[in-house]
Symmetry: C2
Subunit: 218 residues, 2 copies
């Protein structure tokens, strides 16, 4: 059965983005440092067209690679797609990722404002969903053609799917940073999420990877 | 120079104790599970007189052992000492740890209610400090005789010392549990703590250990 999954990097004090997200700081102040472990991996660099196949291999690279393996569609919140709020009218914003985004699949952007689909190079198409997280999930599974659906982020989108009990698996990459402020992953969850068990914990000196699945499914 | 240190176990979602702490649940509901990794270690079992020198050795045991090494005095909050609130009058409460507590040093309990010192077997003496965290720290360093002072917990006491900028080193043991509620470690910190750097991250399948020191001191 195709699954709904997410993988996200969190500071030790619980933040997945720094405070004051903006055009200049898409990950918030200090948020860039969260992902240094990821940027160093070979699979990230290859996927994002950086360097010439260089990059670190090993445990962290394995975990970086697995987050995009077997993924046939992605769902993200509007704040992850871009810094624009309100209607799209007149906007030519097409995401943070340039002409050839690293998704290569349909990407469903949750928004209150309708917009025509936005096809990009390399197989990525941004589609804008205005009728809620369940509708987005249904469309994403249809588009994924039997593969899994990934939640790209950010925190609020992950929280919505966790509250709805729709997430099958997730991985949290905990980096040894203290951001002090920003977007917390584990809040707005109604004393949850419940019903998950950890099936993997391993670390490099840069990050510890915690993998959870629904209890009883492993 | 003697240091002020703490070591504390935290769930992946940020809690160091479960909700609804009580006489029956000193660590809160679900809080016992936080410390399973610790209870399994040889050094914990030896320190607490459990079994016959049995217990796991290796990475987790090394980290369990280091938290009490070179410690000459401990400071704890009243809620860690016991479930009693208000005046001590008529109370015979002497802590959670039986006649021979595992500290074997002076233990300074932060409280608003004066009480005579309480000597126990094995070298532990509980002393009750009513004039604040800095007075407690001064007395603890004096009692420690050149060794370090440990903050025993709980979250509020750790937060007070972090806010005051008095902590030199700390270790967070992050276990792959989601408690959903309880006492959070990283809150009430005024967007801090700032000025620390991680000098160690290592994990077993049960827990990841993050070690921090003041930036520039390593």
């Amino acid at each position: 059965m195709p699954k709904l999954r997410f993988a996200i990097t969190m500071s030790l004090d619980g933040y997945v983005a720094g405070p004051n997200q903006s055009l200049e700081n898409p990950l918030g102040e200090g948020g860039q440092a969260l992902h240094e472990w990821l940027f160093a991996t070979k699979s990230f660099r290859v996927t994002h067209g950086l360097g010439d196949g260089e990059g670190e291999t090993g445990l962290d690279d394995d975990h970086a690679a697995s987050s995009s393996q077997n993924v046939g569609a992605t769902i993200m919140g509007r704040n992850m797609f871009g810094p624009i709020r309100g209607p799209w009218v007149g906007s030519e914003w097409s995401g943070w990722w340039g002409d050839d985004p690293p998704f290569h699949t349909a990407v469903f952007v949750l928004t209150h404002h309708a917009r025509e689909p936005l096809p990009m190079s390399g197989g990525t198409t941004f589609e804008f969903v205005t009728d809620g997280i369940e509708a987005a999930l249904e469309r994403a599974f249809a588009a994924a053609g039997g593969l899994d659906v990934a939640i790209g982020g950010g925190a609020q989108t992950v929280q919505q799917y966790l509250r709805a009990g729709l997430v099958d698996e997730f991985e949290i990459h905990v980096v040894p940073l203290l951001l002090g402020a920003g977007s917390r992953l584990f809040e707005q969850l109604d004393d949850g999420p419940a019903g998950y068990e950890c099936v993997g914990l391993a670390s490099s000196p840069a990050v510890a990877h915690y993998t959870f699945v629904r209890a009883g499914s492993s």
